[in-house]
């Protein structure tokens, strides 16, 4: 941080200005909107999580009661935690892995690389509502492409109601999510791959290093910072997953795709209890868990980085 301030002094920006009026004019509006509609709601959610809201605007303070019943009595919550954990871990690894594979294809000097890149990135830009509905159709039992292809190959026995079966629903949603985000990771990996020092790659080639050896011993270690930040970024996103699940399965069948976020939404708006306190407690618990995870992951992975060099 200190270096950043010094750098600015070099650029000629004074350390402190005494012009309060322009500062307030420039910074004020954004701060007011942000504080009022982002920070205040967060504080209010924490406040709500300590209360129970009953009909007719009766609000009762229960302290940590919501948290206690959440962590000890709520089976659906733990089911949602398990699903979200599976989704986050496998989703993150598959996403980042698929993105890396795609980036390697383009890096291998495939013809028309620019065209492939533009097509592969396009799902990132499309709304989950659109993507989700298309994939509900793709998984359709009667006329979806997955089952159609299986029947072509006379594998009728494998044709399946992918989203209707509690054993496959979560994995079907997961595949959709990988389809949407692989392109994002690909672009980041591409930037990192083209940023590698060419002389190191050239040296590996002179040593008659096979492409697999080059990949494992030369390229991957140098890409480590990129992999770390993509894993963290991807994990945060998946721990908050809502749209794709809500659109494709609404958490069903039999809570097999229920995630923490869809459960929060259901408790708040679908169960007609009018109690925002309990779902707020879920949101707070999950937020704290995300923060802890991010801190641990960045901490431990960065640490190992330093030891290696």
């Amino acid at each position: 941080m200190a270096s950043r301030i010094e750098a600015k002094e070099d650029a000629g920006i004074p350390r402190q200005s005494r012009d309060w009026v322009p500062l307030i004019v420039f910074l004020g509006p954004a701060l007011v909107v942000y504080a009022g509609f982002s920070l205040f709601p967060v504080l209010k959610t924490i406040y709500n999580s300590l209360h129970v809201m009953k009909p007719h605007n009766v609000v009762e303070f229960v302290g940590l009661g919501n948290y206690r019943s959440l962590l000890t009595h709520d089976e659906i919550f733990w089911k949602a935690v398990k699903n979200t954990a599976l989704f986050s871990v496998f989703g993150t690894v598959l996403d980042v892995g698929a993105g890396f594979l795609l980036a390697l294809c383009l890096f291998a000097k495939v013809p028309l690389a620019r065209f492939w890149k533009i097509v592969w990135f396009s799902p990132v830009l499309i709304s989950y509502v659109v993507v989700g509905i298309i994939w509900v159709w793709i998984y359709d039992y009667n006329w979806g492409i997955v089952n159609t292809v299986l029947r072509w190959f006379a594998l009728d026995a494998l044709a399946h109601s992918w989203l209707g079966d509690p054993h496959t629903a979560l994995w079907a949603v997961l595949a959709t999510q990988v389809w949407k985000w692989a392109g994002f990771n690909m672009i980041v990996f591409m930037a990192a791959l083209y940023g590698l020092p060419p002389d190191v790659l050239g040296a590996a080639e002179l040593d008659h290093c096979g492409w697999l050896a080059k990949l494992v011993h030369v390229i991957l270690p140098m890409l480590r910072p990129t992999v770390v930040s993509l894993l963290v970024l991807s994990l945060i996103g998946k721990m908050m997953v809502f749209d794709v699940v809500w659109i494709m399965t609404r958490g069903g069948p039999l809570w097999s795709t229920e995630t923490v976020s869809t459960y929060v939404y259901k408790r708040a708006f679908d169960w007609n209890t009018f109690d925002l306190g309990y779902p707020s407690a879920i949101a707070v618990v999950w937020f704290i868990l995300i923060l802890v995870f991010v801190a641990l992951l960045t901490g431990s992975l960065r640490q190992r980085d330093k030891l290696e060099y």
Binding site: I13, L39, S122, S127, V130, I134, I145, V264, A283, L291
Partner: protein
């Protein structure tokens, strides 16, 4: 040996690339075909080419199926929110860079930490807050929420860009008698155009696709944005697949249009946050 296997490997790679492209692009082409066919035709042959394209379906979707209304609601909300977020964000970024004060670091931290907030931490109490402000079920309310949630990222991108503009330029302008706001409007903003364009595009895409805040804060059919409108059709018992496909195409068309013109900017912008 090397020369014998090289073309083989190259072909294998190309085949893999084509397979990936079919998997990524195929669904879009399929929906585009569905959008021009009627539901009975689709159930007969789900994967045939639209031999007799029904372009009239788009008109029907726009007028009878209410997609016109959803489209204008989305446009109104997203364009206003992007405009406000960009303007307020640029002003704040300029303020943070050019008018440092004792609390600059704290303010910056406070704003940028907003990028980490899960929507679930906000949406429950926003529902309450908007209700008491009489902004529940109103497009204005949704615009305000969108501006608030997009500000941190906007400020993050613009601030790092503005910081690279040499201070001499601003000092010279001041000597020439420019007022503070004039300096922002006539120097910082024009020089920052590339970054401003990037954030505007980024915010447009993210808000055009936004679902959670909209589904919580809007209830009237006449106020629904496109994602909500489509979900509403999905909830019906008899799903008119052909008509829904037309609606999906209407929804992705503006995004594809922007992508056609600004593909590089959008690709770079979307991934800007991940590369440090």
């Amino acid at each position: 040996m090397h020369n014998v296997t090289a073309p083989f490997k190259k072909t294998l790679l190309l085949l893999f690339v084509i397979a990936c492209t079919v998997i990524t692009g195929g669904p879009f082409l399929w929906v585009a075909a569905l959008s021009l066919r009627t539901t009975p035709e689709i159930f007969d042959h789900p994967y045939s080419f639209p031999m007799h394209p029904h372009f009239g379906k788009f008109l029907k979707a726009w007028t009878q199926a209410n997609y016109g209304q959803y489209f204008w609601n989305s446009t109104l909300v997203v364009v206003s929110a992007v405009f406000l977020a960009t303007l307020l964000g640029a002003m704040a970024a300029h303020g943070l860079v050019r008018y440092p004060f004792r609390g600059t670091r704290a303010t910056r931290f406070l704003i940028l930490s907003g990028m980490m907030l899960p929507p679930q931490m906000l949406v429950l109490s926003l529902f309450q807050i908007m209700f008491s402000l009489r902004l529940y079920n109103s497009l204005t309310g949704l615009i305000v929420v969108y501006v608030a949630t997009q500000l941190p990222m906007t400020i993050y991108i613009l601030e790092s860009f503005f910081a690279h503009i040499p201070q001499d330029l601003f000092d010279a302008a001041r000597l020439d008698g420019y007022a503070d706001f004039e300096i922002f409007w006539r120097i910082a903003l024009p020089i920052g155009t590339p970054a401003v364009l990037t954030t505007a595009l980024l915010n447009f895409i993210m808000l055009w696709n936004e679902f959670l805040y909209a589904v919580v804060l809007l209830t009237d059919n006449s106020k629904r944005t496109l994602p909500l409108g489509i979900m509403f059709f999905m909830g019906g018992h008899q799903i008119d697949v052909g008509m829904m496909a037309t609606g999906l195409m209407i929804t992705i068309f503006p995004v594809l249009l922007l992508y056609a013109f600004f593909s590089e900017t959008m690709i770079k912008g979307m991934t800007a946050g991940a590369v440090r």
